[in-house]
Amino acid sequence: MKVDFNIDIHHLPRVEGHGNIHISVKDGKLADATWEVIETPRFFEMMLRGVSAERASFLTSRICGICSISHSLASIRALERAMEIEPPKAAKAIRLLAMHGETLQSHALHLFFLAAPDFLDMPSIVPILHSHPEIVKAGLLLKELGNEMSIATTGRATHPVSLVLGGVSKAPSKQQLKELKEMIIKRRTALVISTDFFRTLSIPEFVRETEFISLRNGHDYPFIGGDLVSTDGVVRDENDYLQMTNEYLCDFSTSKFTRLSRQSSAAGALARFNNNSRLLGHRAHEIAASFGLEPICHNPFMNNIAQLVECHHIFENAEMLIESLLDDDLQEIRTTYKPKAGAATGAVEAPRGILYHHMETDDDGKVVKADCIIPTTQNNANIHYDLKALAAEAVKEGKTDRETEKLCVMLVRSYDPCISCSVH
């Protein structure tokens, strides 16, 4: 039977920000599929002009309510490199622990609040509180642990207080660190429950080959700084971010699109995994293998599982970082500096993928030029072309409009898009 239908989802729910999905099927064939980003732009690059280097990270953290720590640290890294400031070792460990907290919080939010309801055919987490209370409880324990890590290291969960140029303004107390370590150990059970739950879900089979871009530094599973690499073999210096992104405008989106070697590319947990899986902790490795997740995985729905694998890595790595901080006297946490003119890029792995901030300063340390390229901006083209391929495949297999719609919204949610961030 030749079918005709249109799918028009205005302001897709359970994603951060505002995006629309349009799909049109005529005579049993896909006529068009579009991922339309309609978020209101805020013009952060313009706001940053004239702001002092000291204050810049407090402004850029406001680009995103979910990954404010990543934005803060990307700006700080760019400005520290531009003004040749070397933060103390302890401050670096505190920052990395802060990134772990944010990523754990963000992944738990996505996996349980945004993604899980689709797999259980529920509109939100609220009915799941009643149908699967122990699962939601486990998810909340993970999310809370992530937030507690951020609170101990940066002063609060959203919009960090103590991440500053030159280091951190305040170190967590030994007592906080000990409590955090105990919390991690106690909450391993919640991670096991969560992992077992995700094993029961059926992840859609869909493959569209693409290029995965992330950081790589050779020694840690990357979160802060390193080379810019892709699964197509591209390797570039951190400052050459523009050659990795090649932003361009398209008329149906207020977010720009990006590309590298192909029509589109992807960033995020799956990209990090595909480029760095051998650097994952032992347990995270085992979990990935148990889900059949191997590099290079081209199924975007597996980004959910890659996020889960990263939660395991964070549990292992955060404990080690806390040990190292407990052995430090935490006296040297902030380097003093003199403002100066310079330009550099700071790249970090935000929860949703590689994030670039480029900053130029004048002699007084005021920002004269800024550029921020957001992970979801780099994923929007991939989402758009994935949607076309997935919808075409669904129609070919004779799926109904409802089935096609469900797969398409699940696809977009798998990328965990942060749309207001992508427009900024």
Binding site: P13, V51, R55, C64, I66, L140, T158, K170
Partner: protein, 254 residues
Amino acid sequence: MNHLGFKISKMKIGSFDFTCCEGCQLQLANKESTLPDFLGLLDIRNFREISSERHDDYDVALVEGSITRSDEIERLKAIRAQASVLVAFGSCACFGGVNSLKNKIPAEEAVKGVYGDKKIDTMPSTKISDIVTVDFMIPGCPVSKDEVERVVIGIVTRSLDTLPKYPVCVDCKQRLNTCLFDLGEVCLGPVTKAGCDAVCPSGKTPCLGCRGPADDINFPSFLQLVKDKGLSQDDMREKLTFYNGFADYLDHES
């Protein structure tokens, strides 16, 4: 549900975002230990960020973000028409927030700087009370979940409390922090509304005034204090304009 022997009903709530980072709405999902109880007070009718169910029969609307595009005005007016209680949620909704920093340059120039020749609809950032009547403000960047819980419980039990009238300094002193002025930093604690538990000065970073002015502040005396301490006027101005909360005071000065 019963409260002190009286029957109370769940609050039919809608949560809406305009131009913002959605960090304030995210706070609703934080403080996980009390989250199931908190959600138990609410009948979530419309909250796009966490639910695909959408209904327009809410009584209370939480509105996050500032207004920067013409279509947002109509959307906001429609929410106002439905809601019995409209709460401005966070510094962007209350004062225009950091988005107001783009107002320092003409909108056309901002568009050109980011998008080149592409046509983009945008206008200067405004707070939501410039467009509709606001019944209650919960300022903060982001809002404090503790305060949100208190306000929600206050609305549900018909015992709505007010926010603190005193400045951040009061909370900061209670936390036994060293005054940042004594460390040579301009801090907006003396003029900013308390209720955040002095989270920034407690992390040894100056208050940037995200909660806006405290009641009956002595603004000229604050300006004099910064002068007397010989601290940077530029730095003070950067802080006072960061969230646009002190716009009325600055207009008055200049």
